[in-house]
């Protein structure tokens, strides 16, 4: 069955450092992958979408990579700030995923000042 894995342990980093979050998937080949941010008590908010033919996508301090061979996406936040503290969810999607968007369990990021 299709499986999405994100590090369930919280990632603690110091302000100003680069945070790197990992999303691994197995048993399917998504056409694209989305990343969302979720704050406590709020709904997820879309950050970035990367397609299978794109190796890398950037938006301000965010960078996402998509390696279809490794079946992995990496999500980077450079010059991290305490305001970046949240849970980050990856969601592979596409026809091979039944045209549904399935979310990973999320990784909680804590940026300490």
């Amino acid at each position: 069955s299709q499986k999405i894995e994100q590090n369930s342990e919280a990632l603690n980093i110091q302000e100003g450092k680069t945070a790197t979050l990992t999303c691994n998937y197995t048993n399917y080949s998504p056409a694209y992958l989305q990343w969302y941010r979720q704050d406590p008590g709020r709904g997820p908010v879309f950050l970035l979408l990367i397609r299978e033919n794109e190796k890398e996508k950037r938006k301000e301090r965010l960078k996402v990579t998509f390696d279809t061979t490794l079946k992995q996406s990496l999500f980077h936040i450079t010059a991290s700030q305490p305001a970046d503290s949240a849970t980050y969810l990856c969601a592979p999607g596409g026809a091979d995923a039944g045209n549904m968007l399935t979310f990973g369990g999320g990784t909680r990021l804590m940026v300490k000042p």
Binding site: Q34, Y36, P44, F46, L101, T102, G105
Partner: protein, 117 residues
Amino acid sequence: EAGVAQSPRYKIIEKRQSVAFWCNPISGHATLYWYQQILGQGPKLLIQFQNNGVVDDSQLPKDRFSAERLKGVDSTLKIQPAKLEDSAVYLCASSWGLAGDGTGELFFGEGSRLTVL
């Protein structure tokens, strides 16, 4: 632009009681989704509508959960009878196209938190 509206925000019920959640998506969005998010987990898709037709409901526990989307706009999700394991946040989301066609992101509401005692 108004976001996705959900109500109620919080609901506490006894097991075996029923509950209904309401969602009003962003105007013009063809696709509407209901997700269940249990504490500490990622959202799990329950049902996906395009306009007023069901695209996928394979993960909806149909013996107790039901959902409808009236006139392709608002939607309600009902649970009857509720079980303890239904305690979760029920998130509604909408998008312009189908999630599977990769045309864009999902816009989520704030969610309805259900506690079953």
